[in-house]
Symmetry: C2
């Protein structure tokens, strides 16, 4: 990695980056749910046992936050990001249960030069556990262009 | 509100529910960002001062989590929800700064009877501060049908 941040022109279009792994503990599922998504199937092991999932599962927002953390540490902190704009099509394909280890992937799909000083960058993100993909997401953010400097 | 949970058939299609308000403190913006979205414009007041936003702003995921909390407490906890499926088109229209007071709104747009035991419910959510709308989101979740009982 270079010491300075990457401009939009320098992002690796079409290449999938491995963002590394994150282990989701029961404690963290409970803490996140209590604060942000207090539904029984996220925070009550007893009430959720006979339910659809047969136990607690992580809030979709928690899962999405895990992806964001991995994406910032594994990619975005090296990019000259101006601001996020859209989160699109977050698909929760399979439940994330206590003890899941999630691996993140990020692919830059499109760089559109919307303004002289910045580009709109479309990225596809995925989280997978040891079996298969648990979540997919499409994100748009503005990234500075070299022309801006 | 009834004591039992509402079935898909009972959801108020087309009516916009007021979910109440939530105050976003600087402390909470910093805590959320440190854990889930450690980008400078979310967690470093000094580094972000000369930047695009002129100071720190809440992570989009934090803003979305505030909406979810308001939606659960103001609506979802009264519904017989099976599981969330998709978060679609989260638009971050204006920055959320420390001290912002966000008001949530939820509209049930569509109830599709996808299976005998549950329906796919599409909802439109909004957060607004005292000036105007800061975030919009479309969410899909499965809700039990009366037929299931």
């Amino acid at each position: 990695m270079t010491a300075r941040l990457l401009f939009a022109e320098e992002l690796p279009i079409g290449r999938t980056l491995d963002l590394g792994r994150y282990a989701v503990s029961e404690q963290e599922i409970l803490e996140f749910s209590r604060q942000w998504d207090p539904q029984a199937f996220h925070l009550d092991p007893k009430a959720s046992a006979p339910g659809f999932f047969g136990g607690i599962v992580a809030s979709g927002l928690h899962t999405l936050s895990v992806f964001q953390r991995l994406a910032v540490l594994g990619a975005y902190r090296h990019w000259d990001i101006v601001a996020g704009r859209t989160i699109r099509e977050v698909q929760f394909l399979r439940p994330v249960r206590p003890g899941a280890v999630l691996q993140g992937f990020l692919t830059v799909q499109l760089v559109e030069n919307t303004r002289p000083d910045r580009a709109l960058v479309t990225k596809i993100g995925q989280l997978a556990d040891q079996e298969s993909v648990t979540m997919t997401v499409e994100v748009e953010a503005y990234v500075r262009r070299r022309a801006a400097t």
